[in-house]
């Protein structure tokens, strides 16, 4: 008699083997693979609007002008909107990672070194976007305590600078 725990284990193993098979398929048989996913064009971002969403002064003004319940509602709307921006910035960082990785293998040592540097910084920004996104999710539940304008603004600014200064792109 096979115990339920072994059945759970077997299902888990089956799912993992299936997942690994999918990875092989995506890499060697699927067209485009993960590279194509991140090789999309940059998303144009209205940074002015984004900065407005995370402006501490703007938030303070709303906090003093509105009733607490109304402030929470408005703040949630602002956080939701800011999340879209961070997601777009994360995608742009992904494009930069792919760009840097491709350049890293260039026979020209200078280009390769630049590619390495871009890749590392873009990875850093990508992770930062993820952390910001997660904190924003939390801010949706506690809009008064976890204000994106207070602690996260600097981080948002970092990614927004990145998007604004992408070569050959007008992000803002």
């Amino acid at each position: 008699m096979i115990s339920p725990a072994i059945m759970i284990l077997a299902v888990l193993v089956f799912m993992i083997v299936l997942f690994l098979g999918a990875q092989v398929w995506l890499r060697y048989l699927g067209r485009g693979s993960a590279l194509a996913l991140h090789a999309r064009e940059m998303v144009p971002i209205d940074l002015e609007a984004f900065e407005n969403l995370i402006d501490p002064e703007e938030e303070e003004f709303l906090r003093t002008s509105l009733l607490p319940s109304e402030f929470r509602r408005v703040q949630r709307l602002r956080v939701r909107a800011a999340k879209f921006y961070v997601a777009a910035l994360s995608q742009n960082a992904g494009v930069l990672v792919a760009l840097g990785q491709a350049a890293r293998l260039n026979p020209d040592s200078e280009i390769a070194a630049t590619g390495q540097e871009i890749m590392q910084k873009a990875i850093f920004l990508k992770v930062w976007c993820l952390i910001s996104y997660m904190r924003m999710e939390a801010a949706l539940f506690f809009p008064e305590i976890l204000s994106p304008s207070n602690k996260l603004a600097n981080q948002y600014m970092l990614v927004s600078y990145m998007a604004a200064s992408l070569p050959g792109r007008a992000a803002a």
Partner: protein, 274 residues
């Protein structure tokens, strides 16, 4: 991988020959993987995995010598050696997993530290969850108290399976193309970590069956072949990346890259005082 098969003094028969062949072949091939990695200087990129290959081979050599009675030891010594061999194997597996996670951020100390911290937490949660699953399984079997150490090892194996999935997810999230060697190591470790606990659980719940042993050995042969192929084919990863312009990232010109670097430098300066 050490097989906990007791010594057999019977005359050689086809079944036994096949058994020994399936057991010994992948371990010999581990040396092939190690030598190819060394020749291609991959050992410096994946030092923990390289160490794992050598340690695994050494362990096998000793256990095999005990198994065929070239080394005469008591059953207790054999069991203890097997157990500690498994423990060191799992510790090295975790080391390899951390190495795979670290690979994209290894040039960035602060990010590396953050990744490590996150990984420690994730590992702790996974090990705790897997322990519950495995101990439920063992609690139902007779004499489970004797198997606590093995149950712990199984739980660690299950946690490793999930971590392996996260390695792929991590690279995908970052948009990084995994090099052939890295992909091969992750794939092989994933297969090994997922089939090991299943085979072990099968053995524990259905005594006197050799099927799980064969499943384990055949899968390990397959895993080592994946590593051999990955080490040999590693150079090909450059070709894949070479096709990037075709999927949208056109004009990898020096000017564009320098401009990108300048932009990133400005970002860094902008956030430096914080």
């Amino acid at each position: 991988m050490i097989n906990s098969v007791s010594g057999n003094t019977q005359a050689m028969n086809p079944h036994l020959t096949l058994y020994r062949l399936l057991w010994a072949t992948p371990h010999v091939l581990l040396l092939v993987v190690a030598s190819v990695m060394y020749r291609r200087r991959l050992h410096s990129q994946f030092p923990v995995f390289f160490t794992y290959l050598l340690v695994e081979f050494l362990q096998f050599s000793l256990v095999f010598a005990m198994y065929v009675h070239w080394l005469r030891v008591s059953g207790w010594v054999y069991t203890q050696f097997d157990l500690y061999g498994r423990i060191s194997g799992i510790a090295l597996h975790f080391g390899v997993l951390y190495e795979l996670f670290d690979f994209p951020v290894k040039h960035n100390p602060s990010l590396r530290q953050t990744t490590r911290r996150a990984l420690n937490w994730i590992s702790a949660v996974l090990v705790a969850s897997a322990s519950i699953l495995i101990f439920i399984q063992y609690a139902q079997s007779a004499g489970h108290s004797l198997l606590t150490q093995y149950a712990t090892l199984e739980a660690l194996n299950v946690a490793q399976c999930i971590l392996l999935v996260l390695v792929f997810a991590w690279h995908r999230f970052l948009g990084l193309h995994m090099s052939t060697m890295l992909f091969g190591i992750a794939l092989g470790m994933g297969l090994m970590s997922s089939l090991d606990p299943l085979a072990q659980a099968w053995k524990d719940s259905v005594p006197n069956t050799r099927i799980p042993d064969y499943l384990e050995m055949i899968s390990y042969n397959f895993v080592v072949l994946i590593w051999v192929s990955a080490a040999i084919a590693h150079k090909a990863s450059g070709k894949v990346l070479g096709s990037l312009p075709a999927v949208g990232l056109s004009s990898l010109s020096r000017d564009r890259l320098l401009e990108a670097r300048q932009s990133l430098d400005e970002i860094e300066r902008a956030v430096a005082p914080q």
